[in-house]
């Protein structure tokens, strides 16, 4: 069984999330800051008439926040009724990965990423990490697959 995944870059690493939970990819030019929100929240965005919170994945992963570049993207994902954007350094590809390609992540990665990485897989020449999207946005992990 193989499925489609959206692949994106945060820092020097590549991540994927299932394409089925992604509503759209948008370029990012800035968000409206929300005072009092968690520090990893970049702000709120207007995505097709809907006001959506955007998480800065760099900050979420402990990297320094950067100014948006021409490559910066928002990956807009949905879980249940919640729609949340992830601000990433670049997002270009949709890849097809088979479920056998995924392996549990090494202990060190689990610790380092606070459990945000569910699994790792080889996609072509690269090693990609499967992001636990619900956990990133503060929901209980679903442990899909």
């Amino acid at each position: 069984m193989s499925a489609l995944f959206v692949m994106f870059k945060v820092g020097n690493a590549d991540y994927v999330i299932p394409a089925s939970s992604v509503l759209e990819l948008e370029s990012f030019t800035g968000a409206t800051e929300v005072p009092g929100a968690p520090s990893f929240l970049r702000g709120v965005l207007n995505i097709r008439g809907r006001v959506v919170p955007a998480i800065d994945l760099r900050t979420r992963f402990g990297l320094a926040r950067t100014e948006p570049t021409i490559d910066t993207r928002v990956v807009v994902g949905q879980i249940g009724t919640r729609v949340v954007g992830l601000v990433v350094d670049a997002a270009r590809e949709v890849v097809s990965l088979s479920s056998e390609a995924f392996r549990p992540p090494p202990e060190i990665i689990v610790e380092q990423t606070q459990g945000f990485v569910q699994a790792i897989a080889e996609a072509g020449q690269r090693l990609v990490m499967l992001l636990d999207f619900p956990k990133v946005i503060g929901e209980e992990s679903t442990h899909a697959q």
């Binding site: 409206t32 005072p35 009092g36 929100a37 207007n46």
Partner: protein, 665 residues
């Protein structure tokens, strides 16, 4: 609806039982009269009322089978009441079967069993009766009654008069004009009725208005139609009324046509005739509002485009004129749409007497609910969110505030506790609702002990305390408590979801008043735009008391050792108000500006001024709530769009002000 159903069920059952036994009693006495060849219009009227009430109550809590049966039975009695005629004894059997079927279903509801569907056969038999009862009544006239009075008599009344005359011999008309003098002598409409009932049978009492003269100084005359065997002299003596107030109206045969055969139009028919009402689903109204919201955002975009053109040197006078006209039209349109969404507060409160009844019965207390809400309306969406909070406050008042009758008498109060709900519209499209009880007041010490906090010194602090999630001061569980929401939820709905304000006033032994202030409408509000720490925000105009330029001479910054930020004081028109920097309140890095402005808000009589960098102007904005937990933060009521597609946050300055003051204290 299920939690609400639980809340209303005890009251429903009590009320339904009462009407069922009343209806049974009346039906039996109607049967008795029928056997004697007479009619019994009063029983018919009461039966109609009982079944009408049963139907309404059952519809409210959604017991469809009872609604269906009561509806058919109500129809039978309505036809009887309006058109006269007689029921056969067989019809009475069917009606008794109808009552039994209702009783069975109410019983099932009470025992928590599923309610059986209404039997088709019974419904068919009942609807057959409706036709049978519509008898033909011959047209007659009563001598000595003006046509205006005649129109107030139903065919059933005339039938009753005729029967009564048959028994007693004659009918008279008595005119009684109340006055201060007569009232002082102990004669009022109640005493007249009582005395009249002793000497005859009162068929009807019709209040009429007249030109105020010495004969009837109050301009009010009660016309009593009385069937009696007594002579004029006996009547006048018994009733202690002057000679001219009595007239014989014994029926004579007369020309037809005074009593119109046309039944009076039903409400539905009346509406149709006048082109009056259309039922519209709320979803459709929401859709209209959504479309209007889009238009308003478009207008911002146009305004922006026109400004851009102007800065590039184009002549935009004509465009600007069209824009401002467009803006006026949009405002009118918004007004019309909002009006269609309004519902009467009276309508909203309709289920509450039932709730009070149920809660009072369960606790063994006596409680009167009084509402003064006539003529006040609010948006359907607001009404729907507000209703659960009222249910909570009222139930709390019965369960926990109002004392048992014995304790009340001991405290020198009437045995009946009272709950009063008053609604009034304020300026700025706000609605104020107060829920007042005359119970024992909230015991600060007890609440503080329960919460393990200090005893609150003010009512506002007390409200904060009782609004702590999970706090309950209930000593014993009552049958109605132990479920539903707490004050924390009431507060969240009022201040958070509705962007309103909740306050409390309680006096030991005297009672407690909750005041809810909410906007009449939610979505589209007038707002000021401002900038703070380099970011654009808007605040609803309804929360703003004043805006002004800050003059450094008017600002007093007292030293505050050990604090990173001192609360300053702004002198304004002879009074001093706390001055809070908005960037500080929002924990944003401040930027320095040459001429800061201040926005003054007032909450529960206390004013707070916010220092902001710049004020831009007033707009009509569409507010969208920020629902995601990541962004539902204190002091931010929602988000809007001023035309460039970027979200602009809507601030709740009242909440921010309250927090800033609490922090500085």
């Amino acid at each position: 609806m299920t939690t609400l159903l639980k809340d209303f069920l005890p009251g429903y059952l009590a009320e339904a039982d009462e009407h069922l036994s009343l209806a049974k009693e009346n039906l039996l006495s109607l049967e008795e009269r029928l056997r004697a060849g007479e009619t019994h219009p009063r029983a018919v009227r009461d039966l109609f009322r009982s079944l009408h009430t049963l139907k309404g109550l059952s519809a409210m809590i959604g017991v469809e089978p009872v609604v269906e049966i009561a509806h058919q039975m109500e129809g039978v009695f309505r036809a009887l009441e309006r058109e006269g005629g007689r029921l056969s004894l067989g019809a009475i059997e069917t009606l008794i079967a109808g009552l039994a079927a209702i009783e069975e279903r109410v019983g099932a509801l009470s025992a928590g069993r599923p309610v059986a569907k209404a039997p088709d056969q019974l419904l068919r038999r009942l609807s057959g009766l409706t036709a049978e009862s519509s008898g033909d009544v011959s047209a007659e006239i009563l001598r000595g009654l003006e046509p205006e009075l005649l129109t107030q008599l139903s065919a059933a009344d005339v039938e009753q008069l005729r029967l009564a005359i048959g028994k007693t011999g004659r009918a008279v008309r008595l005119d009684f004009a109340p006055s201060a003098e007569r009232s002082a002598a102990g004669t009022n409409i109640t005493s007249v009725r009582r005395r009249a009932a002793e000497v005859g049978e009162i068929v009807k009492v019709i209040p009429t208005s007249a030109e105020p003269t010495s004969a009837h100084p109050s301009g009010l005359v009660f016309v009593l139609l009385l069937a009696t065997a007594a002579s004029d002299a006996e009547l006048l003596q018994a009733l202690m009324l002057p000679r001219e107030s009595l007239r014989d109206i014994t029926m004579v045969d007369a020309k037809p046509g005074i009593f119109s055969d046309e039944p009076e139009p039903s409400i539905e028919e009346g509406d149709r005739l006048m082109g009056g009402f259309v039922r519209v689903s709320v979803a459709k109204l929401d859709e209209t509002m959504e479309r209007l919201s889009a238009l308003i955002v478009d207008r911002f975009k146009m305004a922006r485009a026109v400004t851009d053109l102007a800065t590039r040197g184009a002549d935009v006078r004509a465009l600007s004129a069209v824009l401002s006209e467009n803006s006026r039209h949009l405002r009118d349109l918004r007004g019309s749409i909002m009006k269609t969404r309004l519902v009467a507060v009276e309508e909203l409160l309709r289920p509450l007497p039932l709730l009070v009844r149920g809660a009072a019965k369960a606790t063994g207390k006596k409680v009167n609910l009084e509402t003064k809400v006539a003529g006040v309306e609010l948006d359907k969406a607001v009404a729907e969110r507000l209703f659960p909070t009222l249910v909570h406050l009222v139930r709390n008042a019965v369960d926990h505030a109002i004392e048992h009758p014995a304790a009340r008498i001991e405290a020198g109060k009437p045995p009946h506790g009272s709950i009063e709900i008053v609604a009034r519209s304020l300026a700025n499209n706000q609605l104020e609702l107060t829920v007042r009880d005359d119970g024992h007041g909230i015991d600060r010490r007890k609440v503080a002990a329960k919460a393990r906090r200090e005893i609150p010194s003010s009512d506002a602090d007390l409200l904060d305390l009782i609004s702590l999630p999970g706090l309950s001061t209930r000593d014993t569980a009552t049958s109605t408590s132990g479920r539903g929401m707490g004050m924390d939820i009431v507060r969240r709905i009022v201040s958070g979801e509705l962007r309103g304000h909740l306050s409390l006033k309680t006096e030991e032994k005297r009672g407690t008043t909750f005041t809810l202030c909410v906007p009449l409408s939610l979505k589209i509000v007038d707002a000021f735009s401002l900038s703070c720490a380099g970011q654009l925000f808007v605040v609803p105009v309804s929360s703003v008391d004043d805006i002004l330029e800050i003059d450094v001479k008017d600002v007093l910054a007292a030293p505050a050792p050990g604090r990173t930020h001192a609360l300053r004081v702004l002198r304004r028109a002879g009074s001093q108000i706390p001055l809070v920097s908005l960037s500080h309140a929002l924990e944003m890095p401040p930027i320095s500006v040459l001429r800061p402005k201040a926005i003054v808000v007032s909450r529960a009589g206390q004013k707070v001024a916010f220092e902001v960098d710049q004020l831009y102007g007033q707009h009509e904005v569409v507010v969208r709530p920020l629902e995601d937990p990541l962004v539902s933060v204190f002091g931010v009521a929602g988000s809007t769009d001023l035309g460039d597609g970027r979200p602009v946050l809507v601030l709740d300055l009242m909440a921010l002000g309250a927090r800033a003051i609490a922090e500085a204290a």
